[in-house]
């Protein structure tokens, strides 16, 4: 960040009385915000380098550090905000496209927070989840319209299904965008929880293939690491068309992050850029998607469900109808608040639509076409807690993907600097010294804890609604009411206003 006109965003305050100049903060900061002056034998800080990731604060044994937002402000201007001005300085200096990490941080409405959940009172009973059975088991995959049963026997086998112990999966995060340890933590936790980990476009590291039963392998436009063994190594295959953070945009893993392990896993030479084209070049139309879906099914003998993941964009309902008819078993909709390791800022902040609307629109559309029961619907794009999941399922999702929440559980502090590869928490980095800060076992335990807690909360909410199986919540929009929404928004969400 050499932009001459830029002033520090944060101020590091060091309490001189507490600081012992132990240099732990110096070692912890990969951005170089702290340094040791050898002659004076003191530790000093450079505010301009601080990204506010809290690493030094958490690790300072003397609690000597505080980071504050820089109170320096431009003359008040509702139009030319600090952010707008600084972005121009930066681009004027570098001539570059602005990059960012994690999901859209702009103050768009968060519709989850405008939806309230029902509970039973008198006319039917709430159920106590601690003592009565409460089922979260979820199956994702293509379902026939009806079963053929004769003499107590199933006359036709069901298409392959993903069996989840709870309707949550870890969304695609590639080895490359996150560290090996982070991948392993996710894979371990998914296995322990009976859910799914997703390789993203980064290939499937050979040491992680033992978690294959709980892994979805992704096929994206770059086809990194994709061969027949890869396709067979997981429980399902996901075709990534787009992601919520950067709809319509490909990927670009800079060569610096392609070390020996990433190189071997993606099957590309050491240190080369890994470019994922914006489209799949074998998909220029919906019938081509069918071709790719069936090439994967043919190659894997129809044993793996195929997911198709798309970003929530304006015409999402019609697109999803096409995907369902193209033969996808599971459709994944990723909303515009979904996270990413790196995305052009303008794309992240301006392209796509909220997943709440997308989900409701898709579910309604597929129902009106009479095909909703045939496919499964997964939604992602900033699911922050168990209530978001309950709301998503009541709006029509079969399950949700979580990415950012899982990273936060592992220690991410949302500094949004993933694209620099300097993640001080050992997550979004390929620097071995930083990556080893993340202990996969410890991180996995945190993930298991988080989702165990969420499962219990979901059971509480289900019980409150008098429901003892998650499938009875699916599309059950009567369990939702809107607050602070206009008629049009309520209409799209297909829910009534609170009090109605």
């Amino acid at each position: 960040m050499s932009a001459a006109y830029l002033t520090p965003e944060y101020i590091i305050e060091r309490n001189k009385e507490r600081c012992t100049n132990c240099q732990i903060c110096v070692k912890q900061c990969s951005f170089g915000a702290h340094s040791f002056l050898k002659e004076e034998k003191i530790v000093v800080s450079d505010d301009a380098k601080c990204v506010n990731c809290h690493r030094c604060i958490v690790y300072c044994p003397k609690r000597a550090l505080v980071i504050k937002k820089n109170p320096l402000e431009f003359r008040e201007n509702a139009n030319w905000t600090d952010k707008a001005i600084k972005e121009i300085y930066k681009q004027a200096e570098t001539g570059g496209i602005l990059l960012c990490g994690m999901g859209n941080d702009r103050p768009y409405p968060i519709y989850w927070d405008h939806i309230l959940i029902n509970a039973s009172q008198v006319t039917n009973p709430s159920i106590d989840p601690l003592r009565e059975p409460m089922e979260l088991k979820t199956f994702l995959g293509r379902k026939p319209d009806k079963l053929k049963i004769q003499n107590g026997k199933l006359m036709e086998d069901l298409p392959p299904q993903l069996e989840l112990e709870m309707p949550v999966m870890f969304s695609a995060m590639s080895f490359g965008s996150i560290s090996y340890n982070a991948c392993e933590a996710l894979a371990m936790a998914a296995t322990q929880l009976g859910i799914m980990y997703n390789t993203g476009e980064g290939g499937f590291h050979k040491n992680l293939r033992k978690y294959g039963k709980n892994t979805i392998v992704q096929v994206a436009s770059g086809r990194f690491g994709v061969d027949i063994d890869y396709l067979l190594a997981g429980a399902a295959i996901e075709i990534k068309i787009g992601q919520g953070a950067k709809p319509g945009i490909g990927g670009h893993l800079p060569g610096e992050k392609v070390g020996p392990e990433v190189s071997a896993t993606r099957m590309i030479p050491l240190g080369t850029d890994a470019l994922s084209p914006a489209p799949h070049h074998d998909i220029y139309s919906i019938e081509d998607l069918r071709q790719l879906i069936y090439s994967l099914k043919e190659a894997t003998d129809y044993q793996k469900p195929v997911l198709v993941k798309i970003a929530a964009v304006h015409n999402i309902a019609a697109i999803c109808s096409g995907i369902a008819r193209a033969g996808a078993d599971i459709i994944v909709i990723d909303g515009f608040r979904g996270g990413t390791g790196a995305a052009p800022l303008r794309i992240r902040d301006n392209v796509g639509i909220p997943v709440e609307f997308a989900l409701a629109a898709v579910d309604s559309r597929l129902r009106s076409e009479g095909i909703r029961n045939q496919i499964s619907l997964v939604c992602g794009g900033s699911i922050r807690n168990s209530a978001d999941i309950i709301k998503a399922i009541a709006l029509g999702a079969d399950a949700v993907y979580i990415g950012s929440s899982a990273l936060i559980a592992m220690g991410c502090h949302m500094c949004q600097m993933c694209y620099t590869g300097k993640c001080n928490w050992g997550i979004a980095t390929q620097n071995p010294d930083l990556a080893k800060r993340l202990n996969p076992k410890v991180a996995s335990t945190k993930l298991v804890n988080l989702l165990t807690a969420w499962a219990n909360e979901m059971k509480e909410m289900l019980g409150g609604m008098g429901i003892n199986a998650i499938e009875s919540l699916r599309g059950n929009r009567l369990m939702l009411r809107g607050i602070g929404l206009n008629d049009r928004e309520l209409n799209i969400l297909g829910i009534k206003a609170a009090g109605e």
């Binding site: 039973s120 429901i467 199986a469 009875s472």
Partner: protein, 442 residues
Amino acid sequence: MLTRKSEMLLHEGEIRIPSGCAISGIINKKGKSFSGEDIIKSISLMHERSNGLGGGFAAYGIYPEYKDLYAFHIFYDDFNAKNITEQFLNEFFHIKACDKLPTRKVPGIADAPIIWRYFAKPKEGKIMDLQLNEDDYVMWCVMKINSEIKGAFIISSGKNMGVFKAVGYPEDVAEFYMLDKYKGYCWTAHGRFPTNTPGWWGGAHPFNLLDWTIVHNGEISSYDTNRKYIEMFGYKCTLQTDTEAITYIFDLLVRRHGLPVDIVVSVIASPFWYQIERMDYRLRALMKAIRIVYGSLLVNGPFSIILGFKDGFVALNDRLKLRSLVAAKKGDFVYVASEESAIKIICSQPDTTWYPKGGEPVIAVLDNSDLIGQKAWLFKNIIDMSINKDIFDNDGIYGNIKVTGKIAVNGGISKDFNKEFNKDLDNDMPEDIELLAEVESL
């Protein structure tokens, strides 16, 4: 406006109105007809469970002289609605007979709509035009009239059966319709306790489509999930009631998907996953498939229902047993009701009385029934029984099953069972129990 007490309040179909209730059912398995007096007595005893805002009866076998014709009972708000509806009926049906449904003046019953009944035969040519089978054709016409003709509502559309319902207490409803004068081989009844309603006659129970009728107690929590699923198959939930949704579920699964009744019961009140995991692998595969494919038709939350159809009835509780249900048997009669006293008042000394468990059906059908054209898999030849879900709870060893409850096999021999069998080890299984032979062939 005769059928709505108040313009200010929305009625069923415009708003979802949950309700609590009393239910009762009687069948003579030999198909002998008996008057409505017993069912009236039974439902009236549970007066406290209703609040006067709805009562109704379904009676099977009441129109033997017209048994091959669809009998329509229709509520009209006015004569205009009647004219439009009759035009429609004449276009699609040959009306062989029709009359004003006979009623008495009863103090507890007010604001009656115009009620007519028609005995009709579908026009063959029209059926061909629409490329439907006869039942689907009639269903299409019923949906069309109920959703599109303002002020007209078909409350009954089966053959040799009829639904009689009104706003009022069940005993008054029976008096109003003179049900003591009718004779049928199977009766069900309902007393309603809606939580919020202006009281609309069409919204009372039983709900009917073709020969399906449902009386139901409890407010289900899966309503919207269930509704959205069946709507994909062409059903229009015009009343927004649980009863309507459950009726359509049965129609879809039994009549259109051709599933045996016992499988349908496993859809509506499916076993829990922990039970499924302990099942024999074949049964496990079957139950798993049922839950995977029909998960959206699991009826969640409290309910007890009596599903009536031309062969008899199926009574069922939700799988957590959140509503009450009692069953009894005496001779050729089988009784079910929300409360035991409602059975005892008409059958003081039954041969057996039992309390079905959650998710455990009471299937009581005519001796000569083939369970709607198909053999039920577990219950082949068994004419009425209470299957304990323990049958699904076998310990995973193939052939080791536990049967408890009352089982009567074809030929009227009643057997008490409460033991475990191991098919491979236990040779003293009674031969006349077809059930076991069927389990063996799983």
